[in-house]
């Protein structure tokens, strides 16, 4: 197109020389400048930047990492360039996940694994990241398209699948375990899993995988009424898992009975999702690069601009078997942890004694209070901090069933039962 435009400009110039009637010159010049303007626009078409071998701290306008490396010069971060060694899995590339992926991409993260089975729709355009021309593409493909343009240094892997199905889950698990990006890494192939899904079923699937793999992860969520959200750090065995207690959500302060749900499933706002993505990735960066404090649970109530925080211990009666296994390992490793903490304390010299953050497990939710550094940092599960509430009730397994249970007879043949159902179905 650029070549054709150049030819056209040359033709116009030679025509200008041989123009017999000077009165036409004005109109001719106008046409000429319009063509040249179009040619300029075409020349300004996006140029893909090439890959960068090392992150430079040099402050020049061509260095994409200069402002990030400045964090190191200012003493906020010890070694920023470590970010290139990290792998992050983002489950759900929707309103929160896509923005989170863009933030990590711009920060120069080493590798991103993206999971989603959905397609981009025009109905998603009230959120950030995706463009109308990407409608119809899978969210994973569209994200890879945009992210690789923004930063070609990031290694992108996309998985178009549903992690709650048996097959999807197996692929999810093996992708987390794959260590081809950094073979020397301890543990799994990823450093952190970020759950950015919009439903309980998928969160429980992430929880299952991370408990089985002993993989630290962050949960994030925005309420269906779009006015609150939260992030939560989950370290299997050390903190409560997602199944240890019913999910904690921020109370919007709106009476459930007055909330009009007729005719709609869920609302969404780019603002709330952007705030949650920002909180999630800020804590991800702190976790990875070792600066500041990582929030165990941080809520966001947008109506009151209120940010409740809390901390949750694992439930020794958790219904998830893998969680119990991780809890056992965590207790066994206590002497090592104590020794390490003591050594660290001695190295740092005398300081204020801190309250036991992760004392032995007692099934309860603990609320960390600045004013009570020792002793009672556990309260009953009913006593949640102000502004937080449980989304679902606990399984009520002790209640007597209202009808007799289906008689259990292990001699029953599964094929026979299948035939019985088919017979009734076709009757």
């Amino acid at each position: 197109m650029e070549i054709e435009l150049n030819d056209l400009i040359a033709d116009l110039q030679s025509l200008n020389q041989s123009l017999p009637d000077p009165s036409l010159r004005d109109a001719f010049h106008k046409i000429q400048s319009r063509v040249e303007h179009i040619a300029d626009l075409v020349r300004a078409e996006p140029v893909r930047r090439s890959k960068v071998k090392d992150m430079s701290a040099e402050v020049v306008d061509s260095n994409p990492y200069s402002r990030l490396m400045a964090l190191q010069r200012m003493g906020i971060v010890e070694n920023y360039e470590r970010i290139r060694n990290f792998s992050i899995a983002i489950v759900g590339v929707g309103g929160v996940g896509s923005v989170s992926a863009e933030m990590l991409t711009r920060c120069g993260i080493g590798r991103l694994l993206l999971y989603d089975y959905d397609k981009v729709e025009l109905a998603n355009m009230n959120r950030l990241f995706f463009r109308p021309d990407q409608a119809g593409m899978t969210k994973t493909d569209a994200a890879v398209q945009t992210l690789s343009d923004i930063n070609p240094d990031v290694v992108l892997e996309s998985y178009t699948l549903n992690i709650t199905t048996v097959d999807g889950f197996e692929t999810f698990m093996s992708s987390l375990k794959n260590k081809s990006f950094s073979p020397d890494k301890q543990g799994n192939g990823v450093d952190l899993v970020l759950s950015c899904v919009d439903n309980y079923e998928a969160r429980m699937a992430v929880n299952q995988a991370c408990n089985e793999l002993s993989q630290t992860w962050f949960e994030s969520g925005v309420s269906e009424d779009a006015v609150s959200g939260h992030i939560q750090l989950l370290i299997p065995g050390e903190t409560a898992c997602f199944a240890c207690a019913p999910p904690l959500v921020v109370a919007s302060g709106i009476d459930e009975r007055t909330l009009k749900r007729e005719g709609v499933c869920a609302a969404s706002l780019p603002t709330t999702m952007g705030v949650i993505a920002g909180l999630l990735i800020q804590n991800t960066l702190k976790f990875l690069l070792g600066f500041g404090q990582v929030s165990p649970y941080l809520g966001y109530n947008s109506l009151k601009d209120f940010f409740p925080t809390m901390q949750m211990k694992p439930n020794p009666q958790c219904s998830n078997a893998a969680c119990l296994k991780r809890q056992g390992e965590y207790i066994l490793a206590k002497p090592d942890r104590d020794a390490a903490a003591k050594a660290k304390l001695e190295a740092e010299g005398p300081s204020i004694e801190e309250g036991p953050l992760h004392d032995d497990n007692e099934w309860n939710i603990s609320v960390v209070d600045d004013h009570e550094p020792d002793g009672t940092n556990t309260t009953s599960s009913d006593a949640l901090p102000e502004g937080l509430t449980h989304e679902l009730p606990t399984a009520d397994e002790f209640q007597n069933p209202v009808t007799p249970e289906a008689p259990i007879n292990d001699n029953d043949d599964i094929d026979e039962l299948r035939r019985q159902l088919e017979a009734i179905n076709s009757a």
Binding site: D118, Y200, L392, P401, L417, L421, N425, A427
Partner: protein, 174 residues
Amino acid sequence: MEGWDPNTKSTLTQIPLLTTKSGPRDGAAWTVRLKEEYKSLIAYTQMNKSNDNDWFRISASNPEGTRWTGKCWYVYNLLKYEFDLQFDIPVTYPSTAPELELPQLDGKTQKMYRGGKICLTVHFKPLWAKNCPRFGIAHALCLGLAPWLAAEIPILVDSGMIKHKDDATSSTES
């Protein structure tokens, strides 16, 4: 059981409950659960037939019993509207309920998530969570799909979003 109509309530209490808490990744324990699912579904289907309220067909479409397909229908203004029904048993079942899908209605109603998954009422998930592992597929259909069809099909028909299958061919004749 606040928020449920008396009909759903009384039907629900007659569906046999399940006892085994195991999911599709639990090997032999899943087979035990699958047997309970079958018994519960057989009893529910039989009950519907004898009450003259037959409204779905469902069967496992793989030997592992993790994917289910079938049909469901709803009668409105004396006309029967029938839809494909499908769902997967999630890896975290029965802690989480199956997400019921009506793919033919995808994009036709707001009360649906991507892929044609029906949007359940605020009452469904709490009741399911409370009754884990006693509720199974039959309970999900009774508590989730039946009230959804009763609420949404009349709206979809009245607004013209769905047409009766005989309507499309006969409309030019009238």
